[in-house]
Amino acid sequence: MLLAFDWSQLAQQTVIGLSSGGTWALLALAIVLIYRSTGVVNFAQGELAMLSTFVAWSLVHHGLSYWGAFFLTIALSFLGGVGIERAVIRPVERAPVLTIVIVTLGLVFVIDGIARWGWSSETRSLPNAFSTRPIDIAGVAFSIQDLGNIAVSLGVVVLLGLLFRYTKLGLALRAAAVNPQESRLLGVRVSWMLALGWGLAAAMGAVSGMLTAPALASFDQNLMQPVLLYALAGAVLGGLESPIGAVVGSLLLGVFVNLVGTYVGWVGNDLRLPVALVIILGVLLVKPSGLFGRTAVRRV
């Protein structure tokens, strides 16, 4: 029985899981980023990423080179994120977290509406940043793209680590999120820090959208809806506070969901999504801070 086991199938499904997880990790990072800098989970993060992807598509179709469009979209998304915070979040800045979360839920519909109003709903595609040509090693196939998405997410983790740990700006961002009152007393411009947090998360969202769309081969306005749930599950699993947690959590989730889908008959292809939900629930019950998060300690 053991001899008949198809080891290359196991390896292949693991690689595919890592690749899917690598894509989810990009959005999970955006979620973590905004959580860290504003203390709120932004449910519109996926839709923002989708909108950025459409902007990138339009730029490419107006003749910009792929990388030109890539960086211009990141810049525009940053400004957009700041703008949204100023226009929509600021009026409820001091309201309870629940209020802000509900505002972000409202944003989901608004942004979706904008994307449907601005672009037709036909299926379209964005050029690949990385090669998708198959590379075969011992019967396991993968491509540069699979490695590329994971590499980008790890690169972002390093950048965020540097930002949060070694810069004054990072310190101010963290302080504003953790303790706005005291930060204000210490001269941190809390309100602008929140806007900056939104801008950074929107920029990260743009990266995630522009790399997810080619990884999924085509896209329309529904691009990020299915991804958001897995990304949230990955972020919660790794710890909402921790960028490296978001990446590791997403990769683990990708592998887990694939292997369960392949080898546990009754889960199969139909119950993959519920498995992700069960993981969110389980982590929140057993270890709310996730694998890499620290339990929040607050001096009173």
Binding site: Q12, T123, T132, A141, P226, N269, D270
Partner: protein, 405 residues
């Protein structure tokens, strides 16, 4: 509260009675100058790429109206947006029947959506004409639902065509199937088995997917590991494109059959972009409409008419090369023919009678030779198609017409 409840019930009963008695004296939706029909279309929401099915039909009616209408009556086609949500389909269909007093429901889109409204429309005796779904039940269960009739070749028939083609041309094929885990995917799979007959055991692996999932790569890897040499893609465009991409990314080059839902030329071109020219080359699908982007039809009178109508009536942002517009015009053309047959003062009974006695040989939007044919015992207007092969960026049809039920 109680009073409100009873008042509501009374209103419903009145509305039902009004709708049911409509046929008696004057037919709802029919005036000396106008025929009012309506239907639901996902103008917005997840399935809004199918909006052209409704819009294409509306352009054709505008064209017919500009040329005098039918028996001096203009056709007013009310499209309600159901956002592809069956609950909304029900609400909007009720509105059409009870407030807009439509003559008939026409070209409403979606399998579950038409299933949701079918019992109601049959209870109040409103024709549910030319349903926009390949669900077999809309043609097959006419004894129970006599006010309902389908239109396009049904999914079971489509699957059967592929099964027969495989059995005929590659009898030793080992077959892998990717299918959506709902009625649509299951009908195609059942049809495939039916067409393969005793070769159905050559289906070595079948993997379903959930339309809410982001990707089908894991499924494609499992299908590949079954060592199949033939792949059936019974999936919507986005997942069909992924199937090509991931097969390519896994270094798998099976012979591909792709269902008509995903075989529009623009989708195939995206599949080429997502994988490689070689991966998509030689794919097989079925066809019953003239594809406006196919150079074969550039000088065809039907497609010339189509282009003229589009040029005159289309909304901004409508893609002229979208084959769903052609579908919409074809189903509208069929309705117009049925209406002509239904007499000078059409009733709901007479349009139903006309819709079940059709022989339309000259539909300009259908492939040459495809006939719209119905009888009281045959509620499948379109049951013919040809096979087509993707070659050098275009579909080319081959072989004769298949007729499958």
């Amino acid at each position: 509260m109680r009073a409100v409840y009873w008042a509501g019930a009374l209103l419903c009963a009145l509305a039902l009675a009004a709708a049911a008695s409509g046929a008696g004296t004057s037919t709802p939706g029919v005036s000396p100058t106008e025929i009012v029909i309506g239907g639901t279309i996902p103008l917005t929401g997840v399935a809004s790429s199918f909006r052209s099915v409704g819009l294409g039909a509306s352009y054709y009616f505008k064209y017919v109206n500009a040329h005098g209408g039918v028996n001096h009556r203009k056709i007013r086609y009310i499209i309600k947006d159901d956002q592809y949500d069956p609950a909304l389909t029900m609400d909007k269909t009720r509105e059409l029947v009870e407030q807009d007093h439509v003559f008939a429901i026409f070209n409403s889109l979606g399998t579950e959506h038409n299933l949701a409204t079918r019992p109601y429309l049959n209870a109040v005796g409103v024709p549910q004409l030319f349903v926009g779904s390949g669900g077999r039940t809309f043609g097959a269960d006419y004894k129970q639902y006599k006010w309902t009739i389908g239109y396009q070749p049904n999914y079971l028939a489509e699957g059967t065509i592929y099964g027969r083609e495989v059995a005929k041309t590659t009898p030793k094929a080992s077959i892998a199937v990717l299918y959506q885990n709902d009625d649509y995917g299951n009908d195609l799979l059942a049809g495939l088995k039916h067409g393969l007959g005793k070769r159905a055991k050559q289906i070595v692996s079948k993997q379903s997917y959930n339309a809410d999932d982001p990707e089908v790569r894991s499924q494609i890897a499992r299908l590949k590991s079954s060592k199949a040499n033939t792949l059936m893609i019974f999936a919507t465009p986005q997942f069909a494109i992924q199937a090509y991409r991931f097969a390519y990314q896994l270094g798998w080059k099976p012979k591909v059959y792709v269902n008509v839902v995903a075989s529009a030329s623009n989708v195939m071109n995206l599949a080429v972009l997502a994988s490689s020219k070689k991966e998509v080359e030689g794919s097989i699908s079925i066809v019953f409409l003239k594809d406006p982007s196919d150079p074969r039809w550039a000088k065809d009178p039907g497609i010339k008419l189509y282009r003229a109508i589009m040029k005159r009536y289309k909304d901004k942002g409508t893609n002229v090369n979208d084959v769903y517009n052609v579908y919409g015009m074809s189903v509208a053309h069929t309705f117009v023919q049925a209406l002509k047959k239904a007499g000078k003062s059409p009733t709901r009974a007479s349009i139903m009678n006309a819709a079940t006695h059709l022989t339309i040989k000259n539909d300009p939007f259908l492939l040459p030779g495809v006939v719209v044919r119905t009888t009281p015992n045959d509620h499948f207007p379109l049951d013919q198609a040809r096979l087509e092969r993707w070659h050098n960026g275009h579909w080319a049809s081959f072989g004769g017409l298949f007729r499958v039920r």
